[in-house]
Amino acid sequence: MELFVQLLANTLQIGAVYVLFALGLTLIFGVMKIVNFAHGGFFTAAALIVTSVVPFATVELGAPLWAGYLLAAIVAIVVVLCLGALVYGIGFQHVLKDLNGSFILSIGLLLILNGAYLAIYGGAPRTVPQVLPGTVSIFGAALTAQRLALVIVAAVVTGGLYLLIERTRLGLALRAVAMDQEAAMLQGMPFKRVALYGFLIGAALAACAGVLMAPINAVTPVSGDEFLIKAFIIIIIGGLGSVPGAIIGGLFIALIESVGGYFFDPSTATLATFILVIAFLLVRPQGILGNVE
């Protein structure tokens, strides 16, 4: 029993970040109908900024660790939002609903961002001290307080996004544009502005994931790339453009990694996710909750 609780706890820990990361990617696809390969760049930017601001705030400013981390989180999210607005204005607004154009643009942007991060931060892994040290036991499953906080914050952010999409005018506009852009525009909705908001929300979600991961894993200029591959698998399985699909897909992939990694090994679990995505593309290409167009 204890083992299964531990595997479940592992699933939630791993899945929390996957869900946040994939939500941003699927939201951008849903609203703008583009594939953003540079999404991992937002995640990495936020995580790297945390590794810079935390030591500065704690050592140079003498702030306590929690305050330094909070400051770093705010700075990281603001910088990523500015970066998101910049790349949207320069590039993505010109390739809305253009899969080929967005593919080329985002791949190029990813290379530029990775190169810039490497030049600024170097390639060596960077770490941040755990803000919440210690270990907690839940029904016999052990996890760090930091990981538990990550799961809780990710759940709150996901819940907040769900409310935003379901209960606000902006959410209504995002859903309307995602369903039928032309009909939404005929109703007076400013498509480009809605697309910008969708893009920025997606970037902010990636930034949140990066901020949450920084104290847990070592951060490198290519940290986001590993999550990007997983996020694509997740949104293909969950359904491109589907927010609930990204949540289900994220937790499903985390479950495979957790259980597969335990009963077999991590390499086999990784292989299983790739086989699964091939199977979905063959049998149900729209994913679990995606719509057939």
Partner: protein, 398 residues
């Protein structure tokens, strides 16, 4: 002919000859490094590049290397191989075809080296490397030379020492990165532990680039082995697993055969790394270190923020071997240099050295160096023991 008519061309010819002589007297020999400068193994690349630059600087300050009447100055050029075969091949293409490099003084990873060898062996370019695979050596790879100890030199003395320290060890779990290095190391690790009476409960694989290690930590903790051997995993990955194992309450012997950078390990694992045995590290500030190593180590601490280890110091030794071989061959022709390398004697950072390993690899292309066992104690690297291979002992006494 009027005097002025031929004095001008003569003067011009004299000036050209002067320049030509100056050029001939001092030329630059580019030495390549193909190592990871990004990702989990980045600390290796950065350290190797720094050690290579120090060696080149030393050789240049001592007047360079002379061959066939010409003096050559060394210049280091680095390339990021991202610890992948694709990037290894790409960096080889750039080095050989674009930059005209004939000597590579450091490359990391069996897969990147294999990819490079397709080009370097065909084109006759010498590659010094720290790859741990056996498949990259042999008479069919005469241009390939290994500049640090590999599992075939390390594992038996390393594991034997650990077993002597913990005679009650009975069970183990092996975790290996799923690449050429891990695949070649795994059977030898299992065999060596078996010979020491340690049963392998599980041998699992993970992909380089993995970010979440809780599942594998959960499995290890539930098997509860006496020791975990992290095989060829880089320090950052080992640190992540150790941190998760600490959360799950596993307490046992931690063995990191490719363990090199204690700083990278500590940065990720913190106190969870305490007590870990490392097979590829060294305390270059300790009593056993040579003056050269102490000086290099202090410089690296200042420049990079962390000390050197068995892997990162290796380009220094490769460059010293290369200098000796060029002078012995009296040529910078890689073919002539590779012919003398197996028999050349030189002063490595550890002391007198040469190449051997013919009994293991069928070709003397393994640099002879002491095997050093270290452990993490209070966050620092502490040397526990060192031993010289028989061939090195014979060379020193010769």
């Amino acid at each position: 002919m009027h005097m002025a008519n031929w004095t001008r061309p003569l003067g011009a010819a004299a000036v050209m000859l002067l320049f030509a002589q100056a050029g001939a007297a001092q030329e630059t020999l580019k030495l390549g490094i193909s190592a990871p400068f990004s990702g989990a193994g980045a600390t290796w690349g950065l350290g190797m590049e720094w050690a290579a630059e120090q060696a080149a600087e030393r050789v240049n300050e001592e007047g360079g290397v002379t061959a066939n009447g010409k003096t050559y100055m060394f210049d280091i050029v680095s390339y990021d191989n991202k610890y992948s075969a694709t990037e290894g091949a790409r960096s080889a293409q750039t080095m050989l075809n674009r930059d005209g490099i004939d000597f590579i003084v450091g490359t990391v990873g069996t897969a990147p080296l294999r990819a490079m060898q397709a080009l370097t062996e065909r084109k006759g370019v010498i590659v010094f490397n720290v790859a741990w695979g056996k498949s990259v050596k042999g008479p069919e790879f005469p241009y390939t030379f290994t500049q640090m100890n590999t599992p075939f030199e390390i594992l038996v003395p390393f594991y034997t020492f650990i077993k002597e320290q913990h005679p009650d060890l009975e069970t183990a779990v092996l975790i290996s990165p799923n690449d050429a290095t891990g695949q070649e190391l795994e059977p030898m690790a299992i065999e060596t532990w078996k010979n020491l009476g340690v049963e392998m409960l599980a041998s699992d694989w993970y992909e380089r680039g993995t970010t979440e290690f809780q599942p594998i930590a959960t499995k290890i903790a539930s098997l509860d082995p006496d020791l975990v051997d992290f095989s060829a995993a880089p320090p950052t990955d080992v640190g992540s697993i150790l941190k998760e194992l600490d959360v799950l309450g596993w307490e046992g012997v931690k063995v990191i055969s490719a363990g090199s950078s204690v700083e990278a390990l500590m940065a990720v694992a913190g106190e969870a790394a305490e007590g870990a045995y490392l097979g590829a590290s060294a305390d270059f500030s300790g009593e056993s270190a040579t003056e050269v190593q102490k000086e290099l180590n202090a410089g690296a601490r200042e420049a990079l923020g962390e000390p050197l280890n068995g892997l990162t110091i290796s380009p220094y030794d490769a460059i010293m071997a290369l200098r000796a071989a060029i002078e012995e061959a009296d040529s910078v022709d890689p073919t002539k240099v590779k012919d003398v390398l197996p028999s050349v004697r030189f002063e490595s950072s550890y002391g007198p050295s040469g190449f051997g390993g013919e009994a293991t690899y069928d070709y003397p292309q393994q640099m002879l160096l002491p095997v050093i066992v270290t452990r993490v104690e209070n966050g620092e690297t502490v040397e526990l023991t060192r031993s010289n291979p028989a061939e090195l002992e014979a060379l020193i006494n010769d």
